[in-house]
Symmetry: C2
Subunit: 266 residues, 2 copies
Amino acid sequence: MDGDTTGALTLHDRVRMDIERKIDEGVYRPGDRIPSEHQLAERYAVSRVTVRRALEALVQAGHVVKRKGAGSYVNPDAGAARPYRVGSFSENCARRGVTPSSRIVFAGVVEATAEMAEVLGEPCDEVVRLERLRCVDGVPCIVEFDYLPMRFEYLLSLDLSGVSLFTTLPELEDMSKIWFDDQFDACLVDDDLASLLECQPGSPILHVRERLSTTSGESIYANEQFILTSRYSREVSSKGNFIRCDSPYAASGASHASHLEARGAN
Amino acid sequence: MDGDTTGALTLHDRVRMDIERKIDEGVYRPGDRIPSEHQLAERYAVSRVTVRRALEALVQAGHVVKRKGAGSYVNPDAGAARPYRVGSFSENCARRGVTPSSRIVFAGVVEATAEMAEVLGEPCDEVVRLERLRCVDGVPCIVEFDYLPMRFEYLLSLDLSGVSLFTTLPELEDMSKIWFDDQFDACLVDDDLASLLECQPGSPILHVRERLSTTSGESIYANEQFILTSRYSREVSSKGNFIRCDSPYAASGASHASHLEARGAN
DNA sequence: GAAGAATACATGTCAATACAGGTTTATGGA
DNA sequence: TCCATAAACCTGTATTGACATGTATTCTTC
């Protein structure tokens, strides 16, 4: 395990990282069989259980596939070994070599509507509200509204124009313990959005309502994004541990839920 | 573990299911601390490792939260204990007591475009193509195009009007080994879609392109859905082990990728 | 040479034990 | 009563050992 013996990490984490590194460096190449659990245990001087735990994580991440009775293999499709993390707006831009920017349109405390309280999962009178215009190389792409519980009021004293909530909130450190609830709609750009996004009113626009909560049920925040998909596309990759919960409206005759916020309140 | 001793299941599965049942029946209620791992091991007459494995699955599914040094607790937010599976169109309708129906608009083998071959991840000349109109209580909501590798040609001899691909394809049995790649766009209803969906041309419509593949890199199928969100809304819940890979178009100046299929080819 | 049996090997499952480190509760002194 | 300490308890991590089951290879037999 080389000189990388950071004492803070667990054994199975160190084993996992070393195997991961060997895959990255091509020591184990796509399609190759990697040494058996028994051999790895001997090589790293750990128990087989520890090796199995490391391999389990690699299987979860898509780097390794196992075949009972045969062995463990490096995933032959290198592209399928997706990074195991969430990319924020800022991160995605950086990865593509374009410059993200944010203009804070509004940041403050507002009275909570009944719907906000419900979405945030707790009775509350006030919420922290952000409205941001996100641009790529100066071209406006997304209008985003964020709604956070009052315990995040401290955010208002920070400069949020360059950062994402993803990297700011300590609650979001361990993504594996976060539930994302997303609802997707298509709607048309109204005059307010058009002037912010510098586009034609009546253009189609993607409307995403997202709610983040911990697996223990605590709400973190909710947001609402209007994404001009002609300028910025939203892609999501996910492993099968999610549920779609489509809901037909036609049957109940109920109209579409309106936006979380009264747009005229600015 | 009652009389439910199905020999086919593993021990940790039986333990997990029994704890799950006790949570469902209210023996362990939300917020309650469930017996310690040591106690559970003694009660079920299994080792602590087996109990931990059962609990691990329950934590993954969101039913249980653990606190180091303190104990394991039933997730206080019952709503957060989401079912650990994907809901198909048919399933979601059934759950809501409305009647789903599908009209097959087209089903057959077509010549593969370069883009289809790329999306399906393998060189191919032909693909199986389905076009379906999905309705809720007779109201058309979704136009769906499916593209499958030729090994699924046998589907064409089945009656697909009542079922979903999800429950039909054996490849989709273990959802935890499936990658979903989704891309969301908003666009406008054209004349073809309008006549199928019985709606106004120019209405905003949600356009989802989805690709399913195994963690070992094998493509299963790709599809393209046009969802009238005013009649049927798409919600997605997911745990944090996914990635968003938004891509800015503004920078490169590249135009939006066109549909997978030439719409006029019908 | 081909088919089937025997063998070696790899992963899957499970048990029993040990210790580290965090949390809760009980104890005891100021 | 309040606070600090100690003990009990619980989860996290790791080891060793064992057996079951599926896969691949080799050997034997026809």
